[in-house]
């Protein structure tokens, strides 16, 4: 299993930023995979009829993308907790940045606290959160 060891990690270490082009097809694939194939997640016209600017990314998908950022950094199976706040609409068909930083280490439990967030290409933080990983 690849990933980081507790001793290699320091407060202030950064995760990413990973630039990710979020295509409409990727959002549709997610909506299909979770049986939420609703217009707001699958087509612009349907989303506009709901008062949205166009199709949007499900909040749960944003959370999934952040989890993937964390496990890509820490290693599979090491994420223990993830909390997010959805602050703005994550619109597909554009590039987002997946970001994170180490905020705290607990020597007793070998747990590492992280800030994680998704920002738009313009630098607006659309989703913010915290995560806990347990490292060997």
């Amino acid at each position: 299993m690849h990933g980081r060891r507790f001793d290699e990690v320091h407060e202030g270490d950064e995760l990413g930023p990973v630039a990710h082009y979020l295509s409409k097809d990727q959002v549709r694939a997610y909506a299909r995979a979770v049986d939420h194939y609703y217009p707001r997640f699958t087509d612009d016209e349907g989303a506009r009829r709901e008062g949205l600017p166009g199709m949007i990314t499900p909040g749960n998908m944003s959370m999934g993308l952040l989890a993937t950022l964390v496990t890509g950094w820490a290693g599979p199976g090491r994420l223990r907790r993830l909390g997010t706040t959805f602050r703005g609409l994550v619109l597909p068909d554009r590039t987002i940045r997946l970001c994170g930083a180490v905020t705290q280490k607990d020597d007793a439990t070998r747990a590492v606290e992280l800030d994680v967030w998704i920002e738009s290409d313009e630098g607006e933080r659309l989703v913010i959160g915290t995560a806990t990983v347990a490292l060997p």
């Binding site: 694939a29 995979a33 998908m61 959370m63 999934g64 993308l65 989890a67 890509g72 599979p76 997010t84």
Partner: protein, 145 residues
């Protein structure tokens, strides 16, 4: 908006839903949709486990209890965020049971006025009784018009 409600609503189970067994194809499709490439999430076989957020696709048949405070029942809520505590990973063949409770209900005043938050907690276990996840869904209601 002054929020009044019966606090006995908190922690009371209002839904219990057992889902159909998870398939390997579902686990893989979910992980691939997130762009995941780790073999443990995208390759069928004995080492396959669900992506850590796979659990949030599960919910109860009923999202809110019938005894939600009257002022909230007919209003639209927004998904303000989620907190997940992870336990055992989801594997192919698992049958996940979701028990729903209202974990918290509170008011908050921000720049855009007063808001009410209802935290709906899903406690998920597998067929072996192992805790898979505790998911807190923070649903937000904007101040009454």
């Amino acid at each position: 908006m002054a929020l009044e409600f019966d606090r006995s609503i908190l922690g009371e189970e209002f839904d219990r839903t057992e889902h159909d067994p998870v398939t390997a194809d579902e686990l893989i499709a979910f992980a691939r949709a997130l762009g995941e490439t780790s073999s443990c999430h995208v390759e069928a076989g004995p080492g396959l486990v669900g992506h850590p957020t796979y659990c949030i696709r599960f919910r109860g048949r009923k999202f809110f209890p019938d005894n939600l405070p009257e002022g909230l029942r007919s209003r639209m809520s927004f998904d303000a965020g989620k907190d997940i505590e992870l336990g055992a990973p989801v594997c192919a063949g698992d049958r996940i049971t979701v028990v729903s409770t209202v974990h918290d209900l509170y008011e908050k005043t921000g720049r855009s006025g007063s808001m009410v938050f209802v935290v709906v907690r899903f406690t998920m276990t597998n067929q072996r009784g192992e805790l898979v996840a505790i998911v807190d869904n923070r649903m937000m209601y904007r101040g009454q018009e």
